[in-house]
Symmetry: C2
Subunit: 434 residues, 2 copies
């Protein structure tokens, strides 16, 4: 069969990986795809020293590839919003298929992009946008089609997991490990997107849309990062039998969808609690299949290239099928409008609270009373011994309750004269994988 001709736009880390893996594994990929996949053009401002581009046409202007009649598929790896959005829309309007690793682009502009792609009859594929090399989009969108999905929970930001893992294993501070992650190239100079959960929120918005058949709703994701996590919290969690992980969670409830990114205590014996370093893992719970888990590299040149190229092979196949037989962009032919995203006050979970109390009789009773008045049961309490006159750390683990009730508890606790400073709150999920 005729080769599929590809334009690689952006020859940075991921672009270089795609270029090199397509060359190195060309014959194996062609044997799988039933035809060669050939890089016909590269658009990049800077060449990548790891790539031998001597026999490929290289241009500087990415938009040039949309005018090249030879190109079947445009691979968008320039990142960011505006230039990427323009490139993708121009490619679609030129009748070219698109493969992208750009989660921000899909999470924010996906609804519009897919609408344009549907009208132009082209594929837009984005496996690499979530969890790097793990085929999680394919697994949910095609592998679990029999299921009503109950929930999805994942470690979907490798930088954050690297930081939490190193804090826990080496007893180091957040700032200290962040600096190391930056030196290793795992974190950007401005680490906001990773450590404040925005990157995870982009990915969670995509996972939620394909799991539940709802429109992309990035703007409705509750997002909390890991920068407030103290090594003390990690140690208390361990003592209680938990590890702290930064999770994206989306769950179907009777009233709507939970959609939230935040640090989470997970029981130590869960597989998710044992995913360490820069690795990613996503649990998907379906009503028929039960719990399933997908693990692997969430970033890096070749793992991300693995996902981009798998999309290229899928596009090559889709070129031989009629449009209505293709897998819908967001898993469902039409998005449901009867599953609103719940406000954070309406979600239900268990909680870890850490507070500093003045060492006075009756403090614990006052704390317990406030929880009890909101109907919240306490599962465990740790009260640490301190020298006389010091503030006493109290750690509480509660049973499940509504976030609104917990907000009220925290408001009341923080207004007690016995309690110094703010209350640290971390959510707790059981995420049973058996």
């Amino acid at each position: 069969m005729k080769p599929v001709k590809v334009a690689v736009c952006g020859l940075g880390t991921v672009g270089g990986g795609v270029f090199n893996v397509l060359q190195r594994n060309a014959s194996e990929i062609a044997r799988r795809a039933g035809r060669p996949i050939v890089v016909e053009q590269v658009a990049t401002r800077n060449l990548n020293p790891s790539c031998d581009t001597s026999s490929v046409y290289v241009c500087q202007d990415v938009l040039e590839v949309t005018e090249n009649p030879e190109i079947d598929v445009v691979v968008e790896l320039i990142g960011g919003y505006e230039a990427a959005f323009e490139l993708v829309m121009r490619a679609i309007k030129s009748g070219k298929h698109v493969v992208t690793a750009n989660k921000a682009l899909i999470a924010v502009h996906g609804n519009e992009i897919f609408q344009a792609a549907r009208e132009a009859g082209v594929v837009v594929a984005f496996e690499a946008a979530v969890a790097g090399g793990i085929p999680i989009i394919k697994s949910i969108r095609e592998g679990l089609t029999a299921n009503k999905i109950n929930w999805v929970a994942g470690i979907i930001n490798g930088t954050g997991n690297f930081i939490l893992t190193n804090m826990q294993q080496a007893g180091r501070s957040f700032d200290d490990v962040l600096a190391e992650a930056q030196a290793l190239g795992y974190a950007e100079a401005d680490p906001t997107f990773d450590v404040e959960g925005i990157d995870a929120a982009h990915k969670l918005a995509i996972l939620s849309a394909i799991a539940f058949g709802v429109p992309l709703s990035f703007d409705k994701v509750y997002t909390e990062g890991i920068s407030r996590i103290d090594i003390e919290d990690i140690r208390h969690a361990e003592e209680l039998g938990y590890n702290i992980k930064h999770l994206g969670i989306t769950r179907r409830t009777e009233n709507g969808l939970e959609l939230r990114v935040h640090p989470t205590l997970i029981p130590k014996d869960r597989l998710l609690a044992n995913v360490h370093g820069v690795k990613n893992a996503v649990m998907v719970h379906g009503d028929a299949v039960g719990p399933t888990l997908y693990y692997g590299a969430g970033a890096g040149a070749e793992p991300t290239a693995s996902a981009v190229i798998a999309d290229l092979v899928d596009v090559a196949r889709a070129m031989g099928s009629d449009q209505e037989s293709r897998v819908p962009y967001l898993a469902f032919a039409e998005q449901a409008d009867d599953l609103p995203v719940l406000p954070m006050e309406d979600i239900e979970t268990a909680y870890y609270l850490r507070l500093l109390a003045v060492d006075r009789p009756g403090v614990l009773a006052r704390v317990a009373t406030i929880l009890s008045e909101q109907g919240i049961s306490i599962e465990a309490i740790i009260q640490k011994d301190v020298s006389e006159g010091e503030l006493v750390p109290i750690i509480l683990l509660t049973h499940r309750t509504r976030e609104a009730a917990m907000n009220e508890v925290i408001r009341q606790l923080e207004s007690l004269s016995d309690i110094a400073g703010g209350v640290m709150r971390i959510r707790v999920e059981s995420l049973n994988d058996q």
Copy 2:
């Protein structure tokens, strides 16, 4: 679009699950597939009390469905070899697509079945044949197409994993836990297929073919079960930092493919070492993506139905594509013939050995000399204290070596007058997942 009409053959555990999930999740499945998937006919000798078949045409003779012009897809869930083979071949020759959960059928007759299907232009899908509800066939065949696969290692028999988990956690004997597994319905009255590794060998043959692009070679799988594993071995392994799991392993080496099913010591901190109970998990290591892992229910009515129905949705889509654009049955359009299966003597791994020695001076030196003469280094030795006059258990952990060298070591050890009885040998794999 026009509904896809399905005949479900066999209404036992899995058939009942497929029937019920197709009804319960009909609207969600139709929204994903772009068209309804409808059970038009059921062929079964015995009705399943969990299924309301009142509005479906039920026949007794499975071959009848191949004559029904209304049927698009035949779902083979009768199990076994001969009747299933006849049904599938008749369905293919009648131009019907086939979905099956039958690993024995695919592992043994797959090459012939796919040849017939290619000629008839129909799909034969078998996601449910390996690791139940986990979309592992799809992940390897479509999700990792960019990769040269290095190795695949999996816990692919839930019964065996249930037995090993319970032996370890409760300190019980193999026979005792097997009896419980039989009472719970996890093991058959004749447990040979599960506990002697034949079921795992069927699945491994399929995984190896799709990972490496080679023909199905079930008859070349080295197969060793778990019935010889003693609780003592599990305890010694724990002391050395390992859990014992029953694995299927296939690895690409310079000289050919390793293809083997046997109990294996895995370092305790690996994710695979922490897969417990009846659950399955498969690690796939690709040259671009690195290690990935897929976890979930490996058996049971609805998890298996999840995989069968995902195949039905894929078949529904494939009906709208030209044949050469479909995913090849065994992942590659053509099977390579330059990757022979290595004889077991040529595989390389590390070893755990347990022997019983007479309590005499110099025994350990004689044992160590035998290993050293074969060029094998010892990583760890445990020699247990015993009362005077008793036989002394010696446990050895070796570095990697060729199986042939280890066979020679064991032959020499067993001929020593100091050593009582046979030598217990369990292979050790590091299976790095970082």
